[in-house]
Amino acid sequence: MTWRPVGLTRDVPAGRVMRAWVDGQDAVVWRSTRGVLSAWDNRCPHRGMALSHGFVRGEDLACLYHGWHYGAEGGVCSLIPSHPDLTPPDTIKTRAFQSAESDGVIWVRLEGSPDLAPPAIAPGLDPLRSFEIRAREGDIAHGAAAKPFEPAILSLLFNPIAHDRTLVTVLIDAQATSDQRKLASRWCEDVRREVEA
C-alpha cells in the first residue's frame, strides 16, 4: 500500500481531528494533547458513528455519539461512559492505519512495512495549503503544467479521494514572500476553475 498525503501538519494541531480518504477508505486523523498523531478507520466500533465528528480528551479520541474513548496508543477503548466503572478489555479497539509526518505533510497508508518511510520532499519547500479539486490527478497535473506559476517554485502532491475528486497538497519555495504565497494560493483556485470547467 502507498503512503497518501492527506493534509498539512499545521492543519492538525494538538487536540484537533479531521477526516481523510486513503485508497477509498474513510479515515479519521487526529492529534492528542501531547502531540501523538493517529489515523484510524473513521467509524466508532460501538455504533458506527464517524469518529471525525469526535473530540480529543488528553491522549484519547472520544466519539461524539456516546462518548466512547479510544487511546492514541493502539486505539484501545479506555472508557465507556454508560458503564463508567468498567475498564474495557483491550480487545475493543479501533482499526488503526499507519501515519507519519515529513516536512510538514501528514501521510497515511492502510498497511505496509513499518520501516518504509513516506516519500521525501525536495528540500527547501514550505507547506502552503491543501485543497480539493473535483477532477482526476492526471487532469490536474496537466492543467497545472499548462498554467505555470512564475514567482516561486511550487510542488504538488496528489491524493485521489474518489474517482473524480483529488486532494492537492501544495508546497512552495521556503524563500517565498507572503505576497508570493498569496499569489500561489490564488493560482490554486485558477487551476481548479480551469480543470473543473
Binding site: 465507556i80 468498567l86 475498564t87 474495557p88 478489555p89 483491550d90 480487545t91 475493543i92
Partner: protein, 89 residues
C-alpha cells in the same frame, strides 16, 4: 470477575452460530465455551467482568443474521476453573 451461563433457544441450526459466538467472546475478551445441545438449544458459559458478560448476552439475543433467538436466559455459575480463551464443545 463473574461466571454466567447463557441459555439460548430458537432456530440455532446454522453453522454460523459457533463461529459467531467465539468471535464475540473474543471481542469482549471473555473466556468460556459453547455447548450446542441441538438445533434449538445452546448453552454458553462465559467468565469476565459483569458489563462485558451483559454485553455478550445483549449480542447473543440478536445473534448472527441466519439465526433467530426466541428465548434467552442466564444465571450465575460458581465455577473456579474456567480455562483462558473460548472454545466450542
Amino acid at each position: 470477575m463473574e461466571v454466567r451461563e447463557i441459555r439460548l433457544e430458537g432456530r440455532l441450526g446454522s453453522d454460523s452460530l459457533p463461529v459467531w459466538v467465539r468471535h464475540r467472546a473474543g471481542l469482549l475478551n471473555l473466556s468460556g465455551w459453547l455447548d450446542r445441545a441441538d438445533a434449538e438449544h445452546a448453552r454458553i458459559v462465559v467468565a469476565g467482568p459483569g458489563p462485558m458478560i451483559e454485553a455478550m448476552e445483549v449480542s447473543c439475543s440478536l445473534g448472527p443474521a441466519d439465526v433467530m433467538v426466541e428465548q434467552i436466559s442466564s444465571s450465575p455459575l460458581w465455577l473456579d476453573d474456567i480455562p483462558q480463551g473460548f472454545s466450542i464443545r
